[in-house]
């Protein structure tokens, strides 16, 4: 039992997540003065959800940057940010969500808090997974593009109305450190704090609710999961169809059916759990194209054997 627990230890991943979060939010002066970093590194985007108004942030949030360029009166398409997201997505897909997103780490840690009833899945779970794609389309692309002011400038509507990351990483520390800002808070601030509180509370009950249902960045990276250079692979000869990988997956992915599913954040738990070592990951992994057929065939044989 102890050996199994040790095998499923997520500490190495959390260490990397924490290290990355510290590295990309290491402008210590900002935490002391309540001002944000204004150096040249802010030309660059970070791969995960990381508000650029966080006092320690060294880089730009890709979703905020995407809305800023789309909403700018000079540009209607953001080649720079879209290219960056395509590059990261094509290389590693949602590996970023599992390993390099500070808000992912916060949700991971919150989910470790004991609670009488943890929710693994519920009735609307599958449908709600599509919500993040709608949010990406409406709040990140269409509204900043078309709902513009008199000079043609759009607002970052996702950041303004939905994003709890900005409230947590930017809003709370900046308002604590700046008296003048505290006098400017109103309904919007209260609304965003309610959303943040709901997200944080739900993270205790449900594993990564923001990543599963809301995050537009996860939505973008997810479409690259099946084609990215970094891939997961299931060795059909080694797989004994025990279902251990599916049971352990907190994102409710069945790696045997699709080991590079849109929802997989590449945390590697399935790989650690597999008793026969059938799941592997790496760059340039070849995926057998007949994988779904093999699963169907196995299911058919099992059903015939059990007389169903």
């Amino acid at each position: 039992m102890a050996k199994k627990m040790n095998k499923l230890n997520e500490l190495p991943r959390h260490r990397i997540q924490a290290l990355w979060a510290l590295l990309t939010n290491s402008y210590l002066k900002g935490y002391a003065t309540g001002k944000i970093y204004t150096g040249k590194l802010k030309h660059l985007c970070v791969p995960g959800m990381n508000c650029y108004s966080c006092p320690g942030a060294l880089g730009a949030c890709p979703i905020g940057a995407l809305q800023a360029v789309i909403g700018n009166y000079n540009f209607k398409f953001a080649y720079y940010v879209a290219g960056f997201l395509m590059l990261v997505g094509a290389l590693v897909g949602r590996f970023v969500c599992g390993w390099l997103c500070p808000f992912g780490l916060i949700q991971d840690l919150l989910h470790k808090i004991p609670f009488p009833k943890k929710i693994k899945t519920f009735k609307a779970d599958k449908v709600l997974r599509y919500l993040k794609y709608a949010i990406l389309l409406v709040f990140v692309i269409l509204l900043p593009m078309f709902l513009v002011d008199i000079i043609g400038q759009g607002s970052p509507y996702f950041c303004k109305l939905i994003c709890p990351v900005g409230t947590l990483e930017g809003g709370l520390p900046l308002l604590l450190l700046n008296k003048s800002m505290r006098s400017a808070i109103g309904f919007l601030y209260a609304w965003k704090n309610v959303l943040l509180a709901v997200t944080l509370f739900l993270s205790i009950l449900i594993y990564r609710p923001f990543c599963k249902y809301i995050c537009p960045l996860g939505a973008i990276y997810s479409v690259f999961n099946p084609i990215s250079v970094f891939k997961y692979r299931v060795d059909r000869d080694k797989c004994i169809q025990c279902g251990a990988c599916e049971r352990v997956c907190k994102m409710q992915v069945d790696p045997v059916k699709n080991c590079n599913a849109l929802e997989c954040i590449r945390c590697g738990l399935c790989k650690k759990t597999c008793p026969t070592g059938a799941i592997s990951s790496g760059f340039f992994k070849k995926i057998p194209t007949d994988a779904p057929k093999l699963v169907n065939l196995t299911e058919k044989v099992i059903n015939e054997d059990t007389g169903r």
Binding site: Y37, K42, A60, G64, F75, Y80, L87, G166, G171, I185
Partner: protein, 53 residues
């Protein structure tokens, strides 16, 4: 159609090809000076992001 899509997904060239395309788009974006918009937004406190604007 489904089989074609599966073989496309399994193709080892599609990922690197999109990565190269991504780099190309980034360079074009830098050429169009989009990066200055990103920088200008990132160095000012985003009032919308923190819930004031």
């Amino acid at each position: 159609m489904r089989a074609k899509l599966d073989s496309l997904k399994a193709s080892p060239v599609i990922g690197p090809l999109l990565a190269v395309l991504g780099i190309g788009m980034m360079l074009y974006g830098i050429h169009r000076e989009e990066v200055n918009v990103v920088f200008a937004k990132a160095i000012k406190i985003c009032l919308e992001c923190i819930g004031i604007g």
